[in-house]
Symmetry: C2
Subunit: 917 residues, 2 copies
């Protein structure tokens, strides 16, 4: 049997179907489905698809078409003519068609399109006649055809290379048109009347002859085959080729071509055009929702020149509530449309975004596709469609992206506002959601302004622990330096607060209290709006949407996640309040409790002060004294968190950061410290200087402090055990897991474990109890630790991956300093993404796998989790699931996202078993 090159669709019939995407392209297959499927039978403008085989043949055979193609096309055209009761090239009742590309996978804007094909001097009068004498409509269509055709078909596909952009034919025709507008004092195209347009068409043709040395073809078939050739040519256009490189689309796929009847919503008051959604894309409500315009074309809705009307009562909004609905104006057509959308949703089993045109009281469906939706809508639809038994719960889970779920957790900038505003500057998206506020430059100012009822954005070069109170009251934080795991980013993310860091082009002048950015000056008190999920900064006050109160929907959805996921999800929480928040989201324990964070900005200065005393101590005696003063605070804090997590495990990390981080920077605090320690300022700065390190990230920190100052570990361990013991006496179920950070060798663990054992025994005795349930474990964050994990597992019962530090050491990237080169690395595509955001599976991932494998070799039931920032990033969560971790841990506001990612990871793995889309 000879190959079939042309597939017809229209009149409730179609040669093709949805599954033939490889042959017909995505668009062609979809048009065939819409037109031909028994359940749908949509009134699609009839047309035909030329297959991708033809494209292949075209390129293999010096741009020649296979035999029989023209005949098949002719036959298909006849079918169209019959259905439309018009004829291609007919002077009285002409049929116009469009010629569009359509590859297997969508390549939006990469290939060419020619519209209004079939309009010639011969057919113009007929179209004027059938359009009810609308000469302006016809000559405007003709003018558009000439411009498009001369550019796409005659110049580009004709292989004519203009000298520069300005000398291209399209530009030259545009010049003629703007010349005429100027001459006639018109400001918009719509002011051009029928005669103007007619004159323009004549001038265009002369110019084309002059420049391209060819006549604009006045034959409808010549126009059609010219258009088809141009679309095939555009498959190998520069833009299309480079797009395919990036998207990895094979060159040999080729494109199909769709030739389809032109329909016009602008043929009078019995014509219209519109877009609609089968459910509300902003809320998810199961109501038909859309807009339409009488006597208009689709592009008029997009252009926003006229205000569209609501298709029904439900679709009414503030600015169109007084307009007539389509339901009222064309009740029959509305009924048909309503029925069609019902069928569509049922057929495609998802909310559809549809485009329709009414030409002279006849409804045509131009396009339908899965509709875009915001986060709350996505979650609601998924849940409701599951209840309606429309989709399975697995499908429901796969239909919500983690970032959509994130929208339910934070206020966001109104997307429309965001489109309408120009970006001021872009930074790294360090804390989620949106926020607006007035600029302040210090933590102190932030607190004062907020007290007077203002909303502020705290802007700093970079933040440090002394800024924390100001950060807490600010709507958002913006810093010029730092990476995704800088101080500002870590703190903000922990609170779920909007934050943007590493805005390299931003210059902060604390003295003048202003920001210099891109030549502009932003002063104290000016408004800024931040999109912390994208890293976008806008000038002024943009409107916000807050979906974070829709708790019921979120909780239902999380239950769905829980029913599928296998990975545990814990939270990184440093305070009882954080712990409680995370419990609300269903966190199954605390994966990281940073003991040092209790010293940051929590009302009372005392713990921090004693900590500083301890740090600046010179002798073991001084240090022990300070530790004794510190002890009750540490115990109290740990006890409160263990209590909040009653029954759930709490991983408590021993002191991690280098001590100098806690040395005060403010003169007054330094003086206070000197006075209390009874030393002079000179001695104090000597001691503080001695703590200085060239590379503190790889310096005297973590277990290295514990080994050199065992009394510090002992104090912390005692606080843990005594807190637990007191809770046991109160009939609670504390479950601490003691974690040693920055470990590179088993001997470090043995050293620390001997302290644990000793203090454990002392505590049992002191409280007269028999047992405290606890685990002893280590962080795996130093690359070497992975290699010696078999030995580490001899003394530990759990591992927790600190992927921040592992990424730092594994890449040799200081998270605080990557601002100098990472943007260039991403721009040059040297790295596909910031490895501090998503785990680098190739390098760091292998280190992780080695550690897990060796650890479990020694101790089969070793508990393994992750407490690095990656624990809340969906792809990293999926990775953690695949390498066999027991749980991930992330900041409270990432817990829902981690749960969803964990559930999706299971579904993706089981794709062939239980999951169907």
């Amino acid at each position: 049997m000879a190959k079939k090159y042309v597939y017809f669709f229209g009149g409730a019939k179609a040669d093709g179907k949805e599954s033939m995407k490889n042959l017909l392209g995505g668009k062609g297959a979809n048009l065939a489905e819409m037109a031909g499927n028994k359940d749908l039978k949509l009134p699609v403008p009839p047309g035909f698809t030329i297959t991708t085989d033809v494209c292949a043949h075209y390129y293999k055979n010096k741009k020649k078409y296979p035999k029989g193609l023209k005949e098949e096309a002719l036959k298909a055209m006849e079918k169209i003519e019959k259905l439309m009761d018009r004829k291609f090239g007919d002077p009285n009742n002409p049929l116009l068609v469009s010629v569009r590309s359509g590859a297997r996978r969508s390549m939006p804007g990469m290939m060419e399109t020619v519209l209004n094909v079939g309009l010639t001097e011969k057919t113009i009068p007929g179209l004027i006649n059938t359009s009810g004498g609308n000469k302006r409509f016809v000559y405007d269509a003709y003018r558009r055809l000439i411009m498009m055709y001369s550019d796409v078909v005659m110049e580009k596909a004709g292989g004519i290379e203009p000298k520069d952009d300005e000398s291209g034919i399209r530009k030259q025709l545009e010049k003629i048109m703007s010349g005429m507008k100027k001459e006639k004092n018109y400001t918009t195209d719509t002011q051009l009347n029928a005669d103007d347009l007619k004159e323009l068409c004549g001038l265009f043709k002369l110019k084309i002859k002059e420049v391209l040395k060819k006549d604009f073809p006045d034959d409808h078939w010549k126009q059609l085959w010219g258009g088809i050739g141009a679309v095939f040519s555009s498959w190998n256009g520069k833009r299309a080729i480079s797009y395919r490189r990036i998207e990895r689309i094979p060159d040999e796929w080729g494109t199909a071509i769709n030739v389809q009847t032109m329909v016009f919503g602008n043929m009078g008051n019995d014509s219209a055009t519109g877009v609609a959604f089968t459910r509300n894309p902003g809320t998810g409500e199961n109501k038909f929702y859309g807009e339409y315009l009488i006597n208009a074309q689709g592009e008029d809705i997009v252009a926003g020149i006229r205000t569209p009307g609501p298709i029904n009562e439900y679709s009414k909004s503030e600015h169109n509530k007084d307009m007539l609905t389509l339901e009222k104006v064309m009740p029959e057509i509305y009924k048909e449309l309503f029925s069609i959308q019902k069928r569509l949703e049922k057929h495609y089993r998802d909310m559809q975004d549809i485009e329709f045109t009414i030409e002279k009281n006849k409804l045509f469906m131009l396009q339908c596709r899965v509709g875009k939706r915001n986060g709350p809508a996505a979650v609601r639809m998924s849940l409701e469609m599951t209840k309606e038994k429309f989709i399975t719960k697995e499908e429901a889970l796969m239909r919500v992206t983690p970032s959509q779920l994130d929208e339910l957790l934070h206020p966001i900038i109104d997307p429309k506002e965001e489109i309408a505003h120009k970006l001021l500057i872009k930074g790294l998206p360090a804390g989620p959601g949106g926020a607006n506020g007035q600029v302040v430059f210090s933590a102190k100012d932030a607190m004062e302004w907020v007290k007077t009822g203002k909303k502020v954005i705290l802007v700093r070069e970079e933040t440090n622990p002394e800024d924390v109170e100001g950060m807490r009251v600010a709507e958002a934080i913006l810093t010029a330096r730092g990476g995704m795991t800088s101080h500002a980013a870590l703190v903000a993310r922990g609170w779920g607060k909007c934050c943007i860091v590493g805005c390299n082009g931003l210059h902060v002048d604390y003295e003048k209290k202003e920001i210099l950015v891109d030549g502009k000056t932003i002063k104290e008190g000016d408004w800024l709006t931040l999109n912390g999920s994208k890293g976008n900064v806008y000038e002024g006050k943009l409107a916000m949407i807050d979906a974070s109160e829709e708790n019921k929907i979120l909780m239902d959805f999380l239950k769905l996640c829980d029913s599928v996921k296998k990975l545990g999800v814990r939270t990184n929480a440093d305070t009882p309040e954080d712990a409680a928040k995370a419990r609300q989201f269903g966190a199954e324990g605390i994966g990281l409790f940073r003991t040092e964070h209790m010293f940051y900005g929590k009302g009372s200065d005392e713990p921090l002060f004693y900590l500083r005393k301890m740090i600046i101590s010179k002798t073991q005696e001084e240090r022990k004294l300070a530790l004794d003063e510190l002890f009750p605070y540490v115990k109290k804090d740990i006890k409160a968190t263990l209590e909040a997590m009653d029954g759930f495990p709490v991983v408590i990390r021993l002191l991690d950061p280098p001590l100098h981080e806690f040395v005060p920077r403010q003169q007054i605090k330094l003086e206070q410290l000197a006075a209390d320690l009874k030393i002079n300022m000179e001695e104090l700065s000597k001691r503080a200087d001695a703590l200085h390190e060239s590379n503190p990230m790889m310096g005297h920190r973590g277990v290295r402090l514990g080994v050199t100052y065992p009394e510090i570990s002992a104090m912390q361990i005692r606080a843990i055990f005594e807190a637990a013991a007191e809770l046991i006496k109160e009939e609670k179920k504390p479950y601490p897991e003691i974690m040693v950070p920055v470990v590179c060798d088993v001997n470090e663990l043995k050293d620390q474990f001997s302290i644990v054992k000793e203090v454990y025994g002392q505590t049992l005795k002191k409280y007269n109890i028999k047992k405290i349930k606890y685990m002893f474990g280590t962080m795996i964050e130093i690359p070497r630790a992975s290699f010696v994990a078999d030995k580490l597992a001899e003394v530990t019962e759990f591992f927790s991956y600190g992927t921040n530090d592992m990424t730092q050491m594994g890449f040799g990237f200081s998270r605080d300093d990557i601002g100098g080169f990472l943007p260039e690395y991403l721009k040059k595509n040297i790295l596909p993404e910031d490895p501090f955001q998503s785990i680098d599976q190739e390098g760091i991932g292998e280190l992780i796998k080695i550690g897990i494998e060796r650890g479990r070799k020694t101790r089969k039931n070793l508990e393994i989790g992750i407490c690095g920032e990656h624990g809340g990033e969906p792809r990293s969560v999926e990775f953690c699931f695949h390498v066999g971790m027991n749980y991930v841990s992330c900041s409270p506001f990432r817990v829902p996202i981690a749960k969803l990612a964990a559930a999706q990871a299971v579904l993706k793995t089981n794709k062939n078993k239980t999951y169907k889309l």
Copy 2:
């Protein structure tokens, strides 16, 4: 057959032999060999060994001896009596014996010894008689026996636990003795006369009875079995047990016991004692060398109270040249001794250290063992013994330790002086050899003092590039901070200069120009002496030995190394002078040429100045201008080194350190820079501040600079190719290997390689040549690089391991900051050694192996080397050989050591094939 428990030796016969160490212990087996071997037949004082089996039986059977032991011992004693013509316990002619431990492996000082056993009230008169009436000698021996026996046998082995150290029996007896000395106004023990000693023995016995409630045994057999029991008991003493834990000696081995005739060199003028070496241990010369003392015991030589005489003319020295030689005084005995030492050397095939005693004109050999020797002696002996066909060349190579070879390369402190002086403080041994000089505190002072002819030690908190000129002229460098790869250490090692870093207890006060250490003050101009190979600092001026001129011997030895080793040895050299030095030692190329080092202190300030201009540039234009100014210097430097290494490969590393390292710190230089750049100081410090990084080691450096500022790479690459092209025109054979540092991903290499290809093409064209031989490669120093080595090898032809940085990242140890915890880590045995000194084979080693395996998988003939500081450390060199590297590279003065280590690595591997010891 019944088990044999007692092995006799003596009278040119022995039941045992050397190979029976497991049964007889090391000492017992050796005594048997010396006494019984046919070739030796040494006059060893006869005795017998009780086997380790007895020890095992003793502990298994509640401290009971096996049946038959006493009978065997009795028989052996009879043989001794016969040979010595004395009788154990005989009142007229008594035989005295010693009882000593002797385990399989030597455990020096860990177990007990009892001497003079057999001396009783009954035998005292006999011994006085046989000693020629020497009552003092006899009572002193008796006094010693009582003290030793009461302590070791009666108290310790008797299970009596004194309340504290002071209440032990030995202390109490010592108190009695010192009381008597005080009463009689004696200052030394030797002032006690025979009567005093006799009285003392009586007092001792009374005290023993009072304290231990037992009499001191006056029976010779009782004494003997008491002593034997005490020695067995001491196998399970606290000290012995903990020593076995550390040295991993199994508890079940047990110890043997040697009972041996006591001989006395202090029985009159026909008695003597001495020590001798079969060759000169200080020079290696093949001459019998030694000292003796008439009428003395061995310990008298060690104590150094009397000056010993030379055994022969050859052994005469400045302070004993007028004394009579043994050869003259006892010619027969000397002849016997001479013949014995010849036999000994032949038998043991190595230089022997021997102890002898002459008792009443009869020669006894007490001990012989392989003699200790210094570096020059070791090398000379090895070479000469090979020529004498005494040993194989493989043995010769194994007999010199790398640190002995090092002694041939640098002056060292006279070892005798070093023993005699108290350590002032210990730091990290960063640069080899010894040096003395006067303390100065700045590079400027160093230069001025040296101009006036003084020798100086430059003392700094830590050094930076601005100190380099001062470091060059100083004898040695001493810093309070920094690790083995700090600036001072790197620079000093490169020059082979003595250097000690990281002296934590040392406080430098630049203002007062003084050092505070351990309560002492060292002022400017005071003398210090440094042992840079050990990290020892001494006050004052210690004498030096300089063997570094013995070039012939060194070169011969290196030839021997070359004939065996398989690993290539290159050098890390940054200047043509360094390159030439390394060529002298036979370096086979340069493994690391650090382009940035040309900017440090080389007379002209210009290159550094232009580099600084480049760094502080704000725009690409400014930067390019500065680079153009810099270019001729860089090219000239590279050309000179390529020329010095004509024909050998030179690995040239592109710019590595973070730029801020080059920003000047001196105000005057900053002002000069600002003036030249036509910017004000405020702007300059702004730019300099912008370069500041939190963790520069993991910041914007290496290839990250090359990616963000491709013009920097381009300038360097152009300098390399143009230098090579010019040399080709001059008919030289330049062979540059271009190395990219700090790489973590193949895309970085692709980015840089595109610059290489472009500049290569341009250079060929410019010089009109067809080809420049070169390689493109990468450093492997970032942990991730090892994991992606298969990909890296797609674009590179060689890898060079930067184990300094790999150790930093792999351990998370900043080399500049480890001073805060590493000493404690080594003290607590958490790490067996500083991983910056010897490669951590467990962790970092695995990273290296992974990289090599994957790299070679992609490119079979990938050239792999190491250019980190470990490349000159013997164990690391051995590791590099085993993992299949092509070469190691190290500083010029480490080249000989690396060669020896490389040769020894081969021999150790082939142990069972060609190598025999």
